[in-house]
């Protein structure tokens, strides 16, 4: 058979082009997903009515998104004729990338409810409008809780408004405690470890403590309370903080608890892990840390679990939990800035804050604390915990730092590295992440 052979030069050229095409497609395909359909207010053709795009990741399975759309926004529109607000809700996992793509295309929303950890990242990209010189900013900042306020700044300049906040406290199963002969929740970390051992019943697949992962959100309350930490105060270095003293002692304590079988599957993660919120009402975990959003979930269960909520047990540094929540950010080149500023102020007003507090969004404004606790009594423990709660490192490199720490802690509990070597490596990698700050 006469096999036809192509000229080698042409074949090489064709293969080369194919290689380049395929690699270029692969590397560029992700960035081509801009949402051109999400037009901002600038495209509105109405002469007198301004329509603002408000992007968020409010939960649509409970009353968060509907309260914003049906209670808060209509009230704002009544008070501000000529301004309409279009609430666009994305899944949490998609929101940041949608925003990035829209901002890169020069067509961002007017305002976005951003996870607090995204603020320095977005600010460092030059995407956000600095708010410090706006006349209405200072009064709102002055009334905000210090923890949430700390999450709004990058290089000393505010780029966001605190909107809602939360933190974690200790959920404890009263029936399990009673069965173990324990009278109440632990108040110190030493008691927590001892109680976790007493509450673990291997034959029942009951673990004394649930820790929902190796990332900073889940382990920081233990580490901070024990006098440890992740970076220095200026968020420029992890050396001497992440790899020393209280951090090392607490990681060792958690590692020992896991090795003793007193911490459940959630610490290692993976598809076999049962999260604290799933395992706690089923009796798999006798204690774990969680936020205020767990309470409505448990109230809806039949029968609801018999549980209490207590402050994070104190260590040498006290009872310190992690600040969570969301901030409001305004893109630098967003259209209709005056109307957007009005809406931003309204979202931090008493009406909006208390309306959203009723559906699980605790206010970041300190002055509304008593009113929200009076309307939602179980907030009291979280409001108390927020007074000492700390913000995770406010740095554009936080996401990478968190991944570095989490990976090294996972290696430590898997026995791949020692506590000392793992935390030293984490600190070294984190320094690289922080170097861009």
């Amino acid at each position: 058979m006469a096999l036809r052979r192509n000229r080698p030069g042409l074949a090489v050229c064709a293969i080369g082009c194919a290689a380049l095409a395929l690699t270029a497609c692969s590397s560029s395909s992700s960035s081509s997903s801009s949402e051109s359909s999400e037009s901002s207010a600038s495209s509105s053709s109405a002469a007198k009515t301004v329509t603002l795009q408000f992007w968020s990741a409010y939960n649509t399975t409970d009353a968060e998104a509907s309260t914003m759309a049906n209670v808060v926004i209509p009230q704002f529109e009544r008070e501000n004729p000529g301004i309409k607000v279009d609430s666009v809700v994305y899944p949490y996992a998609d929101l940041l990338q949608k925003f990035l793509a829209a901002a890169a295309a020069g067509d961002p929303p007017n305002i976005m409810r951003s996870d607090i950890i995204w603020v320095p990242q977005l600010a460092s990209q030059g995407v956000l409008l600095p708010l410090g010189n706006l006349p209405w900013y200072s009064p709102i900042a002055a009334s905000a809780l210090p923890g949430p306020l700390a999450t709004t700044k990058w290089q000393g300049q505010p780029y966001a408004l605190p909107l809602d906040t939360n933190t974690q406290a200790l959920f404890w199963n009263k029936s399990d405690f009673k069965a173990a002969g324990l009278s109440g929740p632990p108040t110190t970390l030493a008691q927590l470890y001892a109680d976790a051992a007493k509450l673990t019943i291997k034959s029942k697949q009951q673990f004394g403590l649930g820790v929902d992962g190796t990332d900073i959100w889940n382990v920081a309350p233990y580490i901070w309370s024990n006098g440890g930490g992740f970076t220095n105060a200026s968020y420029t270095s992890a050396t001497g903080v992440m790899s020393d003293g209280g951090t090392m002692a607490e990681v060792t304590a958690l590692d020992n608890l896991l090795k003793a079988g007193d911490i459940g599957s959630d610490f290692r993660g993976g598809s076999g892990a049962v999260s604290g919120e799933t395992g706690f009402p089923k009796g798999e975990y006798a204690m774990y840390l969680d936020g205020p959003w767990a309470v409505p979930t448990y109230t809806a269960l039949q029968p609801p679990p018999d549980y209490g909520i207590a402050p994070v047990p104190s260590g040498t540094a006290g009872s310190i939990s992690t600040v969570g929540g969301e901030d409001l950010v305004i893109p630098k080149n967003a259209a209709n800035l005056a109307a957007t500023e009005k809406f931003a102020q309204f979202l931090d007003s008493q009406f909006a804050q208390l309306a959203m507090a009723k559906v699980g969004q605790m206010s970041a404004i300190a002055t509304y604390g008593p009113q929200e606790v009076s309307a939602t009594p179980y907030y009291s423990i979280f409001v108390q915990q927020l007074k000492t709660a700390e913000a995770r490192p406010v740095s554009p490199g936080y996401t990478k730092l968190d991944t570095d720490f989490s990976n090294e802690l996972a290696m430590i509990i898997d026995g791949k590295v020692s506590v000392s070597a793992g935390l030293s490596a984490a600190a070294q990698q984190s320094n690289t992440a922080l170097s861009g700050s």
Partner: protein
């Protein structure tokens, strides 16, 4: 009507192929060549995504970071291993399947369709199905393992380095084998049967027939499949991103998941551009070298 002149007809004959190529060439230029050079451009700056933001020139520093990044070494090793495992497996299984279905077997069309279905199924769907099959709680893999073990088995396949990598390879082979099968089937169907028959008359055994007659006859197809599979393997992404997210502790990371994570999680766009540019150069060099070597040694 006046007849067109010979020169005009000649001009039209020369221009026609270029005009026909123009739409594809334009698409290629806009969606491939431009992004490629833009990516290369970004890799030399500390690039920010926001239009108008300051983007300082950093020279080769992003490339330096890529080269010294230990995760890149792990990701490069995993990508190489993925190619070494999945490319020969896809070629071998595709060739065996094609050889079996070249003869007029009953239900040939049905078998062809069944083998090809994974190729046209979405990577996302396939990845989620495999993640479910290898779930530690109630996955099929553990159910089968439990039958053999005689007790409940809860292996967390995707949360461990080598089992996680194994599932990633399995998905790649299962999803890709149908493509090489169809290409080989076409090549075998197009091969003159008298060559094989002459070999049989001369007393050649089946292995000898394959080695001396069939494979050399479909050699251009083998080269084509090999090169495209290697390029495809260098781009492994979706199943890693969806099934293991590169974990545990970056041990199943591959080059493009790491580039993606750097760009869209850590906002290190220039670093990601540098990494993607290096991958492009390496794949280009590999592909060219491969074609050259195979053409210089047509017999072996």
């Amino acid at each position: 009507m006046a007849r067109p002149s010979a020169a005009a007809a000649r001009g039209r004959r020369i221009a026609t192929p270029y005009l026909l190529l123009l739409p594809a060439a334009a698409m290629y230029a806009v969606f491939t060549v431009y992004p490629l050079f833009r990516q290369l451009d970004i890799s030399f700056y500390n690039w920010h995504i926001f239009p108008g933001a300051s983007n300082p020139f950093t020279g080769l520093s992003n490339y330096g970071q890529v080269i010294h990044d230990p995760v890149v070494r792990t990701a490069a090793f995993n990508t190489l291993l993925y190619a070494v495992i999945t490319v020969p497996a896809q070629m071998l299984l595709g060739l065996v399947g094609a050889a079996m279905l070249t003869d007029r077997l009953p239900g040939r069309a049905l078998w062809r369709a069944l083998i090809f279905i994974p190729v046209v199924t979405s990577w996302v769907i396939v990845s989620y199905i495999f993640a479910y099959l290898f779930n530690a709680q109630d996955g099929l893999a553990n159910s089968v393992a439990s039958l053999f073990a005689g007790h409940a088995v809860h292996i967390d396949w995707l949360a461990q380095t080598w089992t996680g990598n194994g599932v990633i390879w399995l998905v790649g082979i299962w999803k890709g084998v149908g493509w090489s099968f169809v290409i080989f089937l076409a090549a075998l169907d197009g091969m003159p049967r008298e060559l094989v028959e002459a070999g049989r008359i001369d007393g050649a055994s089946e292995p000898v027939l394959w080695r001396k007659v069939i494979i050399p006859s479909i050699r251009p197809t083998v080269v084509f499949v090999l090169v495209l599979l290697i390029i495809g393997a260098s781009q492994v992404f979706t199943q890693v991103y969806l099934m293991t997210q590169g974990g545990p502790y970056d041990s199943t990371q591959v080059l493009f998941t790491w580039a993606y994570q750097q760009a869209f999680t850590n906002f290190e766009f220039s670093y990601a551009a540098a990494l993607a540019s290096l991958i492009a150069v390496i794949v280009l060099a590999l592909s060219v070298a491969e074609v050259q070597v195979l053409r210089r040694n047509p017999g072996g």
